[in-house]
Amino acid sequence: MIGALIRLDLRLLLLSRAAWLLVFLLSGAAALALVSGLDWRERFVRAADSDRSEIAKSETELRDIYTGMANGTKQPTDVDKFDGNGEFIPDPRDPYVAGFYHTQLAELPAGPLLGLATGSSELRATHHRIQSVPLYTLLKIGEPAERVNPGALAAGRFDLLAFIMYLCPLALAALLFDATAREREGGITPLLSGLGVDRHRLLLARGVVRGGLVMMVALGASFVGLALVDALGSTAGLWWLGSTIAYLLFWIALLLAVAASGLSVVGTAAVSVALWVALLLLSPGLTERALRPSGLFEPRVLADADVRRILRETGGPSGIEAATARVARDYWRIDFATAPACAYREGVIGEYVQRRLVDESYARSMRDGAERELLFDQRLDRWGWLSPALAFRRAMEQVAGSDPARQRAFELSVIAYHARWRDRVTVAMFACRRFDRAAFEEAPRFVWTEPAGGATPIVGVGVTLLFALGLGVAALKRRPLLQ
């Protein structure tokens, strides 16, 4: 019986021009979503290209200076005696000079499935040039390297996640809302009942055919997308496919439950559309806003103001003297009175004092902001399932590597790496040491370590599946069609 009903519904779909149009539009939208998302992936990956080549070029120049010094063809300038006239050849051995000239790149690689889900990758920084200059000049508070047209940015990028999240449920609603009501209003229910068709079989057949159609388009697009980002068969790819199936099953079950309610065609249409609006347009934002802690934005707003205050306070001769004593005691742990004379480079020490103070203040503000964001994430982990669409979006962004937590982890890694890079210079200065060629080559590079995956995808996908199961059971309870 089920097989016959499935074949019948399939034939009905094949005969409907509107259904063909729907499939055509759905497939076209999926293709556009892939093009749009992959376009962003390409821009993200290439955002650091010019910085990378500049840094490589400057490293080659410094190597040439080392080589020139070794074979006597190059004589670097003594920065303490340079009067501003003539050619300046930086001395990479001098820690102070190296602090300016030796630059490293801290780069966040594209997430495994970036291009399928844009997430917050458009809103925060992708890479930073690391020198021993103050942190705030490098980070620019996580500003994106590439700014998109404001109107386009605010509208949101249409990627595969947006396609699956918004359009597939809309297509399902359009195909399933009158799964039983149309026959009832058309007066053919008695005929179907007479043929032994009950409501649960009819709903199951329609769920399989119409839900399967949308699922096929979504999974087909996902396979193509995964192949294009080279993630077919990867764990992230499997999570993506599993999550997509769970999410669409949830919507199929939900819409079948509406269809099984006994409402009229108008009633089921209204409720289906209302659910789409409420669950997709309203509930994610409302849930997020309700869970949002205070103090997410404030630390970053005040960070730059504090930096300016420190610079002004320590700008004059009296200010810098007191600040030098404080920084030497609290951070450098050096007593210049007993340290070798070469440790105290009078011309530049004030600069390093200011840097250290603003770095400490700025990094503290950034960490405060990150802690508040972490609290937000924890709340969303705990309660985000209240909005299945929100849980699904967070799970997919985490799987794709475009979630805010990954961006945040990158910024904290950059802060830590910058501190190491800065301390490498100051430690060498206070030890009156110079960087020989070997030390130059052994300079620590930025290494990005992916943060340990949280429980988000499992919780999000698991809860969505549970919802789907519950709704499916409710929808497919055995009831005669004429009830």
Partner: protein
């Protein structure tokens, strides 16, 4: 006609599905309004208190050389948009803080969304985007359900048999649908009007409310016309829903991508051009061939042959020459970049042809003073303030100290004599130029919706004659 409207009203009141949809629309709008009213107050408070703090620190800064003070600079903060709680527009995605300093025109940084994009960008949960997107969709669906009622229930022959004219039928359906949608939106609109208050914000809100109601009416009319046309088709509603999604969610994004491809613009390209221009102009802190020209001009002006004999501080004159040259470079290069952005925006307007909602969303951000033009105005005003501030500091140093005297500091209280940055407060009349294009397109859609209804009425009359 009155009888038709009365009948239609009765039928709608008895249609539980339609009433449920209208109630849902009312509830969604109320929820989004209440939720949005306090949404960004923390950000606004943070920006205001930071502005006060940095101004107090500027005033109280210890004595220092004026040009050094210009380098330490000051931060300025973007003001809140008049209807930000109702329509934040593009502002959450753009920098809210600008660091003003000597020699450099910095771009605003720290967008609230960079910290956390709490609002879903597909509509968001603020009142106006919700009214335009969710409200518009529900108005379309209600219109379709009302328009398709007779065909769906197989009552079309009966209706035709009554001899009712298509025009009357269509008009009554449209009037009743429009009334229902207006009624659903009214509670939220009234509460929003009370919270917004009067003055410029009130005028903006009145225009926004009027535009939104016209938009809802257009979609309801298009829904009625589509219902009369496609009502008998099994997947008619599906086709209507998908056409809406295409016009609101998909095609505008396709146009966005095309705009970025057809008129490419990157921050890095602009910065590179600016740096290349800087190399050929005066440089206050470095070597440049142009410095010699500035020196010769200063010597000639004061009739001396050596910098040391100048009655003013040449270092400060050079700083100001550097400042003025760089200001010109920024003006030129940023004007070029703005021209590209304008080309992108012109291409983005193609999306207005796919449905009334993209034009209405644009109108909504402009009426609320939360569009990209607001950001540009903040940027320009901040730059004007920076040039005045740095120019005054440089001139004070030039007129009161000698060349090479970097230890000179101005009198006590000098820094406190500077007025604080006053952010721009444009009125609705100032924004009018940007408002008209989308408003006219919306009116165009109003006309098209009328044509669609006339077409549906004629089709009904023809089918009645057959």
């Amino acid at each position: 006609m009155r009888a038709s409207v009365r009948l239609e009203r009765k039928l709608i009141m008895r249609d539980r599905g339609t009433i449920a949809t209208a109630c849902l629309l009312a509830a969604i709008l109320l929820l989004s309004l209440v939720s949005g009213l306090r949404a960004d107050q923390a950000e606004t408070t943070a920006l205001r208190s930071a502005a006060k703090k940095v101004q107090a620190e500027w005033n109280a800064q210890p004595p220092k050389n004026p040009h050094s003070a210009a380098h330490y600079g000051i931060l300025v903060y973007r003001p809140r948009a008049p209807l930000q709680a109702i329509e934040p527009g593009v502002l959450p995605y753009l920098g809210a803080v600008t660091f003003l300093e000597a020699h450099k025109r910095n771009a605003p940084i720290l967008s609230p969304a960079s910290v956390r994009d709490a609002d879903s960008r597909y509509g968001g949960t603020r009142f106006s985007p919700m009214l335009q997107i969710a409200g518009g969709f529900l108005a379309l669906v209600i219109g379709f359900l009302v328009g398709a009622r007779e065909q769906r229930r197989g009552m079309s022959p009966l209706l035709r048999g009554t001899g009712v004219r298509g025009a009357k039928l269509v008009a009554s359906k449209t009037i009743v649908t429009a009334l229902l949608v207006t009624l659903a939106a009214t509670p939220a609109l009234v509460i929003a009007a009370v919270t917004v208050g009067g003055g410029d914000a009130g005028a903006r809100f009145a225009a926004l409310a009027a535009g939104s109601l016209v938009h809802l009416l257009i979609l309801a009319s298009l829904g009625v016309a589509a219902g009369l046309w496609l009502g008998a088709a099994r997947f008619g509603l599906a086709a209507v829903a998908f056409t809406w999604a295409l016009g609101v969610m998909i095609l505008p994004r396709v146009v966005d991508i095309s705009a970025e491809r057809l008129a490419p613009l990157t921050d890095r390209a602009v910065a590179e051009k600016v740096q290349a221009d800087f190399k050929i102009g005066p440089d206050g802190h470095g070597e440049s061939g142009a410095n010699k020209v500035v020196e010769q001009q200063a010597l000639a002006r004061y009739g001396v042959t050596r910098k040391e004999d100048l009655p003013v501080n040449f270092d400060a004159l050079l700083m100001q020459a550097d400042e003025e040259y760089r200001g010109g470079v920024y003006d030129r290069r940023l004007a070029e970049a703005n021209a590209v952005r304008e080309r992108q925006d012109a291409i983005r307007r193609i999306a207005w042809a796919f449905g009334p909602t993209p034009a209405m969303l644009d109108l909504s951000t402009r009426l609320s003073g939360a569009d990209a033009e607001t950001q540009r105005r903040f940027d320009v005003d901040a730059e004007t303030f920076r040039r005045t501030l740095v120019g005054r500091l440089n001139r004070h140093m030039a007129e009161n100290s000698k060349t090479g005297d970097w230890e000179w500091t101005p009198e006590d209280g000098y820094f406190a004599s500077f007025a604080a940055f006053k952010p721009p407060t444009p009125t609705l009349a100032d924004d009018a130029a940007g408002i008209w294009p989308s408003a006219l397109v919306l009116l165009g859609w109003f006309g098209l919706a009328g044509l669609a209804l006339a077409f549906a009425a004629r089709r009904f009359d023809r089918s009645a004659r057959v």
